[in-house]
Amino acid sequence: MTCREVSEFLRAYVMDELGADLRVTFDAHIAECSNCRAYLQQYQETRELGVRVFAQTDATADAPHELVDAILRSLATLER
């Protein structure tokens, strides 16, 4: 397996979707290639950063009063 192929399989690898045979050749390449090990680490961290980068924004979110009022008005017209 080449570095290019390792790069193509990264998503399947981190999602644990690689078949057993591919997994063995993937692991063998990673064990020998420090560059791909570092790239895999960066890929996993990139994913984690994406998952968590907005985590704090939702908890404190406030909607503007005028938006809440507008939504309630539009729902009221639907109810009739």
């Binding site: 080449t2 570095c3 290019r4 192929e5 790069s7 193509e8 990264l10 998503r11 399947a12 560059n35 791909c36 090990r37 570092a38 790239y39 680490q41 960066q42 890929y43 961290e45 990139t46 994913r47 984690e48 950063l49 994406g50 998952v51 968590r52 980068v53 907005f54 985590a55 704090q56 924004t57 939702d58 908890a59 404190t60 979110a61 406030d62 909607a63 503007p64 938006l67 809440v68 507008a70 939504i71 309630l72 539009s74 729902l75 009221a76 639907l78 109810e79």
Partner: protein, 201 residues
């Protein structure tokens, strides 16, 4: 109005929602609008569009209220409806020609080896994200992704939709979602790498 937990577990609440009870919907609007606005703002760049999307989401939710069966959390149900409303707005807007993602993907030598040398990032994600400056940097980097890829990364990694859910909302195959997500992450890695290489010791 801060986001508060909903009384979904209270007896009769789901039935009230399904019946279109105004008080149940008012509670939803008052407790969930802020959170949903944050969600659609990530997808849409324009504040007016984002507010319209939240409004449209509640209208859709009201019209589809009979389909809410109480199995999912009502917050999850609304989240999916809001994401969908934002995507519809994005689609309706005039598309500008998109930058190619190729320049952001890894480069390889003819023998298949990486052109570049990589060093593992020393800083764990949670430590890096404790700095507002890093959060801002990464959010800006996501915004720089070509639209097709940005959307998939937002739906899968940020909003936590399943591959099938994302495929259905985007009207593409589950396999296309996987390919786009992978390229989006590769491209995002390149965009944020300077920040982390600077932090590596």
């Amino acid at each position: 109005m801060a986001a508060e937990p909903l009384d979904q577990d209270q007896p009769g609440w789901v039935e009230a929602l399904r019946a279109g009870d105004p008080a149940a919907f008012e509670q939803l609007v008052r407790t969930q609008s802020g959170r949903l606005l944050s969600v659609v703002r990530r997808i849409l760049h324009n504040e007016d569009d984002a507010r319209e999307a939240v409004q449209e989401a509640f209208i859709s939710a009201f019209r589809a209220r009979a389909q809410f069966n109480g199995e999912a959390r009502v917050s999850t149900w609304l989240h999916r409806i809001a994401v969908n409303a934002a995507l519809m707005k994005l689609r309706r807007r005039r598309r500008q020609p998109e930058d190619s993602i190729e320049d952001l993907l890894p480069r390889f030598l003819p023998n298949g080896a990486h052109v570049e040398q990589f060093v593992a990032w020393n800083e764990p994600a949670d430590v890096a994200l404790s700095r507002a400056e890093t959060r801002e940097f990464i959010r800006n980097a996501i915004d720089k992704l070509p639209e097709t890829y940005r959307t998939v990364l937002l739906l899968r990694d940020v909003e936590g939709l399943s591959n099938d859910e994302a495929a259905e909302m985007l009207g593409i195959t589950p396999n296309a979602v996987k390919i786009r997500l992978h390229r989006a992450r590769l491209a995002l890695r390149r965009l944020i790498a300077p920040h982390f290489q600077g932090a590596a010791s």
